[in-house]
């Protein structure tokens, strides 16, 4: 069986003014020729710094942003060629959970209304049994029936995130995209939500794309990992390959930092920013003139591939 989601050469660019008052425009490549596959029941972790294009990628997959070019195949259906009316069934199959549970729930709707909306819209429940179904969802995400008639402001951040997860699960999707779902929560609550994701993964056999800047969380929850830097994939592979044998200097740096080794290299201020070199060139210790002149391509096996000329295996 082929992959459930297959993304190839996805690209999204934005035009921005060079400075606040000038008319000159520059192009920012937020998502730069990204290619990956996701198999059924697997969880793909996406890591990278802020501004590396993690969220833009997620929004492109949901078609909340229109990609400039590329192909997104979901169950052999090209999403970018779909018509507006066919998107309805797509939205049922792909759901997203946002970072901030404070702004992603409608403050004027009771939880029961928030949950029954997708149920009714996708005709999973009818008017008679919608409340029962909503209670079932609440139980699935670890809340009890009392929450049904509450407003979001009556709940804590962790509870709201549970509701957001419940709403995403309501339409019985086959792919769940979680965009930094725990980073705005407190440590003790984070652990509860991460456990909830593990349960969902095991119980519903759902495929998941889990975006986070915290490598430890991604390691905990993912099967495969994709490392982004300035919009491009620098390294991709299975969880153990990435964590035990990271190859790209950027991945190595991230892993070291997540384990508490805090001395990172400073960005070199000399050297012009060029479009035709490696994007990590300015921060890389290993870089030479070759890296400056040519863009490295992603090379390797399905288990582990990396975009670096200087790559040598290195064990932590």
């Amino acid at each position: 069986m082929g992959p459930m989601l297959s993304v190839s050469e996805l690209e999204k660019t934005y035009e921005v003014r060079k400075t606040a008052f000038s008319n000159k425009k520059t192009t920012i490549r937020a998502v730069d020729r990204i290619t990956f596959d996701l198999h059924k029941g697997k969880t793909l972790g996406i890591v990278g710094e802020s501004g590396s294009g993690k969220s833009t990628l997620a929004r492109c997959l949901m078609l909340l942003e229109k990609p400039d070019s590329g192909v997104i195949k979901f169950f052999d259906q090209d999403l970018l060629k779909l018509k507006e009316e066919n998107l309805k069934s797509l939205r049922k199959d792909i759901q997203i959970i946002f970072q901030d549970p404070y702004s992603s729930l409608n403050p004027r709707k009771k939880i029961v209304n928030t949950l029954s909306e997708p149920l009714l819209f996708h005709q999973i429940a009818n008017r008679q049994n919608v409340n029962e179904k909503a209670v079932e969802i609440l139980h699935n995400v670890g809340l009890d029936e009392d929450s049904l008639y509450k407003y979001p402001h009556e709940m804590s951040g962790g509870q709201r995130q549970r509701v957001a997860i419940g709403r995403a699960l309501a339409s019985e999707p086959s792919l769940l995209i979680a965009d930094e779902p725990v980073s705005s929560l407190d440590v003790s609550i984070q652990a509860q939500i991460i456990n909830l994701f593990v349960d969902i993964k095991n119980e519903f056999k759902i495929s998941m794309i889990f975006i986070s800047h915290d490598l430890n969380i991604v390691r905990f929850i993912s099967d495969d990992i994709l490392v982004l830097y300035k919009g491009s994939i620098v390294e991709m592979g299975t969880r153990d390959e990435i964590f035990l044998h990271p190859i790209h200097p950027y991945t190595q740096m991230l892993i070291k930092a997540s384990q508490g080794e805090f001395c990172a290299v400073q960005e070199k201020t000399d050297g012009a920013i060029t479009d035709n070199g490696c994007k990590y060139y300015r921060r890389c210790e290993l870089a030479d003139h070759f890296c400056e002149a040519k863009v490295p391509n992603l090379q390797g096996t399905e288990e582990h591939s990396v975009a670096c000329f200087k790559a040598t295996r290195y064990r932590i």
């Binding site: 710094e49 802020s50 804590s156 962790g158 509870q159 407190d186 440590v187 003790s188 609550i189 984070q190 652990a191 509860q192 991460i194 456990n195 593990v198 800047h213 915290d214 430890n216 969380i217 390691r219 905990f220 740096m253 991230l254 930092a257 997540s258 384990q259 508490g260 080794e261 805090f262 001395c263 990172a264 290299v265 400073q266 201020t269 921060r283």
Partner: protein
């Protein structure tokens, strides 16, 4: 206008009544006695209570009977979840609590003087000069319309008698100290031209400009990326050694304290529930809350099926449980915990805990 004035009067009356009530509650504290026997710490907060008096309800105490000691040359990590009162602790040391919040009782001894007895004028010579502060958001704490160099120089010109040329020289020296290769060029740049990490460096330069004895760093790396975070932490560590500064480091990230801290305090619902040395804390935490926190962190090595969690959620300050504030979430809860709040007791050298498990 009259109505507004009346409201104000009622509010004043409210806060005064609240104060009277709280002062009555003060009991002799073991902490204060211990303090006398120890050799003068740099900063000691003794039974500090901070309350917010609102019109609708009685005062909400965001800090209650808070005890904290920072010795010379040590990095004290203050860890807690959001809303536990970490930032309020920092602001109360600087006496910058925004109204209607007020420090209702307690003592804040800094180099032997009680800061709470100082006038606003005297306090101005403490802020920035003897106690520096680094805020969380490097974006918002710099003025966007002034050159960063001038903003650093301003601190020096307020607190010292330096002339213009000296100021510029000293500022450039400071910029060099915080890791800029081209300090003269950075001097004339504006905040928007700098990256987040560079802005945080400028703030650090400002905080150490007058060679203070204590620097309060309030979540200095939370807004930064992993790599930049590493650089800033390294820099802070170097500066602490170089200038012999003590630091109060506020964060919600235990990993950071493990790396740079010498002692740690855990906050929960406006109270410090445990104070301990960092290595002892990570080997053998005392309070059930600290134990839960350490277990619920996604470890580096452990990849197991599920994480240990602390059940329930952080209580709201308006709706705190009676007795020990942690008891609804505690594994080791006893009948006593539900009735009366445990006091902050000493269980070994520089080990303090607020829990009945250690009270015999």
């Amino acid at each position: 206008m009259v109505v507004w004035y009346k409201k104000l009067a009622i509010w004043n009356w409210f806060s005064i009544m609240q104060e009277v009530k709280i002062i009555k509650n003060i009991f002799p504290c073991e902490f204060a006695e211990m303090l006398g026997s120890e050799n003068n710490p740099l900063l000691a907060m003794v039974d500090v209570t901070v309350g917010f008096c609102t019109e609708s309800s009685s005062a909400i105490n965001v800090l209650e009977n808070l005890n904290l000691v920072i010795d010379k040359g040590e990095v004290f990590g203050l860890v807690g979840e959001s809303g536990s009162g970490k930032t309020m602790t920092a602001l109360s040391i600087m006496k910058l609590i925004p109204p209607p919040g007020r420090i209702l009782s307690g003592k804040i001894l800094f180099q032997g003087n009680d800061l709470l007895l100082l006038s606003e004028k005297q306090m101005e010579s403490v802020r920035g000069k003897r106690i520096g502060m680094i805020f969380q958001e490097p974006m918002t704490s710099l003025n966007p319309v002034f050159r960063v160099g001038d903003q650093v120089a301003e601190i020096l010109s307020v607190h010292t008698e330096m002339k213009k040329k000296e100021l510029a020289k000293k500022t450039i020296e400071l910029l060099k100290d915080v890791g800029f290769d081209d300090p003269a060029q950075k001097y004339i740049q504006y905040p928007h031209q700098l990256s987040g990490g560079q802005r945080q460096r400028i703030l650090i330069a400002m905080s150490i400009a007058c060679n203070p004895a204590l620097v309060i760093a309030d979540e200095p790396t939370t807004a930064l990326d992993v790599a930049t975070e590493g650089q800033i932490l390294c820099l802070l560590q170097d500066l602490v050694c170089k200038y012999q500064i003590s630091m109060l480091f506020i964060t919600h990230n235990l990993q950071i304290i493990k790396n740079i801290g010498s002692r740690i305090g855990i906050m929960y619902a406006g109270r410090i529930v445990e104070e301990n040395r960092v290595d002892d804390f990570f080997r053998e935490p005392l309070h059930p809350y600290s134990k839960g926190l350490l277990e619920s962190i996604v470890g580096v090595k452990k990849v197991s099926e599920r994480l240990e969690t602390i059940p329930g959620f952080v209580p709201k300050l308006t709706d705190l449980p009676a007795g020990c504030k942690f008891h609804p979430r505690c594994k080791n809860v006893m009948a006593k915990c539900k009735k009366e709040e445990p006091s902050f007791i000493n269980v070994g050298k520089s080990k303090w805990v607020r829990c009945y498990l250690y009270q015999n």
